[in-house]
């Protein structure tokens, strides 16, 4: 299943369903309808044994996420998008399988590595409180396009011409 965000196209091979999560077209059954109050990841993908949330950030300039403040804001944004999407999916009664969260952020590998560490702390995926009986996200990741493709051979991201989704 092919989905596009900006200049990136994703092929979710083997997915049952893949759709743009914050769909703005009212006529579609995947219309989000709560964009005024809830944040949303770019794509939600359903596989036979799990769901995948995907968020894509392509900074216009390499300096876009340069400062600590920018990185902090980015992590807050990625975290909030996940939480709101998770909540929305709960209301849809669509949390019957484990959820994975993959973010594609076009920065160098050292910086995505730093962002991944921060995101893991925020969700959190690894240090969950003793009181929890189930995880939110099973795992989360931040990678740039090249590393994404090397890591997920079944979800290839390729660059396409033009900007509109």
């Amino acid at each position: 299943m092919i989905l596009r965000e900006g200049t990136l196209q994703f092929d979710f091979a083997g997915a049952i369903e893949a759709f743009k999560f914050d769909e703005q077209a009212r006529e579609l059954k995947t219309y989000h309808g709560l964009s005024h109050c809830m944040k949303a990841v770019d794509f939600v993908v359903e596989y036979s044994d799990h769901y995948l949330f995907v968020e894509i950030k392509q900074p216009r300039t390499p300096e876009r996420y340069g400062s600590d403040r920018d990185k902090f804001d980015l992590i807050q944004d990625l975290t909030k998008k996940f939480r709101d999407t998770f909540l929305y999916r709960w209301a849809e009664d669509k949390l019957d399988k484990p959820v994975y969260y993959h973010c594609l952020v076009e920065l160098d590998n050292a910086q995505t590595s730093y962002l991944m560490k921060q995101l893991k702390n925020q969700l959190p995926t690894e240090k969950q409180p003793q009181r929890w009986r189930r995880p939110l996200a099973r795992s989360c990741s931040v990678a740039n396009q090249a590393t994404w493709n090397a890591t997920f051979p079944n979800i290839q991201a390729s660059r396409v011409a033009g900007g509109a989704a």
Binding site: N109, S141, A143, N154
Partner: protein, 345 residues
């Protein structure tokens, strides 16, 4: 300043030509791709005027092939083969001069090798240069120079050269403002000044004098840089060759080091360094300004031919291949896979 360097069947290179930036040149690449060889060859050409034996002998001393048989610098090949090394310089008047060393694998002594090009103009226009090797020499300074001069010890000449330069006396006259600022930022980073007494170096701070053998190796490097700036080795028109500045240096000090290298470049010092370190690359990316002349050179082996090739770019993000970023990429991939356990791929 050095303009370019050409190798043909020399050490690790089958054929390679690298054009230098007059400012900062940063060489990246995996081990065994010849980064240090480029630095040594460039340095040998700059320092030739100081050595009686000329270019061939300097190259031989700096590379130190087994038995000092200079022919061993020709790239290994079945049967006889010839190799060459050519360095091209641009003089202040814009004129270009070159120096070329040709030899065969049978050439046993430097005087048997052929040196051609503008030898006369080359020696008439001295180019001051310093080569900072990976291994620190400052703590081992006492007696090393005389030992090197009197005995045949197995050290490449770069090790004694850097000490010779470190012991040069101060320049006459007051230190100009830009150099004074550089010295001050180094003093701040290492919390003191360097003094030499009887061939021994000490860091003098408000707590007293600490000999270099007791000083963290990272600070010895800062101290060496301080000396080279203070005694005028690094002035407009000179070149600094630095092999892996990151070695034994706390990453937090990289910001200072890179800031100083950029400043040196702004006062007209050509900087040529190798690195395996992300922080150095990123610091240059973050601290450089539009007018700085930074060039990143990536050395790599062609997957098909196995020969060493290179790409050069002024933009950090366009370095390709980038062995350092690839290593981080591999770490990211493995971290994601570990986080997902045996989950979906």
């Amino acid at each position: 300043m050095l303009d370019k360097i050409k190798f043909e069947r020399f050490t690790a290179f089958e054929k390679l030509e690298v054009k230098f930036s007059p400012g900062v040149n940063i060489f990246v690449g995996e081990n065994g791709t010849g980064k240090t060889h480029i630095l040594k060859a460039g340095y040998a050409a700059c320092d030739i005027v100081k050595s009686k034996g000329g270019f061939a002998e300097k190259v031989n001393n700096v590379f130190y092939p087994s038995g000092k048989k200079i022919g061993r610098l020709v790239k290994r090949f079945k049967g006889s083969s010839k190799g060459s090394l050519e360095v091209v310089r641009k003089l202040k008047d814009g004129k270009t001069i070159s120096l070329r060393l040709s030899l065969s694998n049978h050439t046993s002594k430097p005087e048997k090798a052929t040196v051609s090009g503008s030898s006369k103009a080359w020696t008439e226009n001295q180019m001051e240069a310093a080569y900072i090797p990976v291994k620190d020499m400052m703590a081992n300074a006492p007696g090393f120079r005389s030992l090197y001069d009197e005995r045949e010890i197995h050290f490449e000449e770069i090790y004694v050269d850097i000490l010779r330069k470190a012991f040069l006396p101060l320049l006459k006259g007051p230190t100009d403002k830009s150099r004074r600022q550089l010295l001050e930022s180094l003093q701040e980073a290492m919390d003191g000044k360097v003094v030499a007494k009887n061939e021994e170096f000490f860091l003098r701070s408000e707590y007293g004098e600490l000999e270099f053998t007791l000083l963290a190796e990272g600070y010895r490097k800062l101290g060496l840089l301080w000396i080279l700036i203070q005694n005028g080795t690094l002035l407009n028109g000179s070149a600094l060759f630095w092999d892996e500045p990151e070695t034994n240096l706390n990453p937090k000090l990289m910001k200072t080091i890179v800031g100083i290298l950029l400043e040196l470049q702004r006062i007209g010092v050509q900087v040529i360094l190798t690195t395996h370190d992300y922080v150095i690359l990123k610091e240059f990316d973050l601290q450089s300004e539009a007018e700085d002349k930074i060039l990143f050179h990536s050395l790599f082996r062609n997957a098909e031919t196995g020969e060493i090739e290179h790409t050069s770019t002024p933009n950090y993000l366009d370095i390709a291949p980038n062995a350092i970023d690839d290593t981080f990429g591999d770490l990211v991939t493995r971290e994601i896979q570990k986080g997902m356990g045996g989950g979906p791929k």
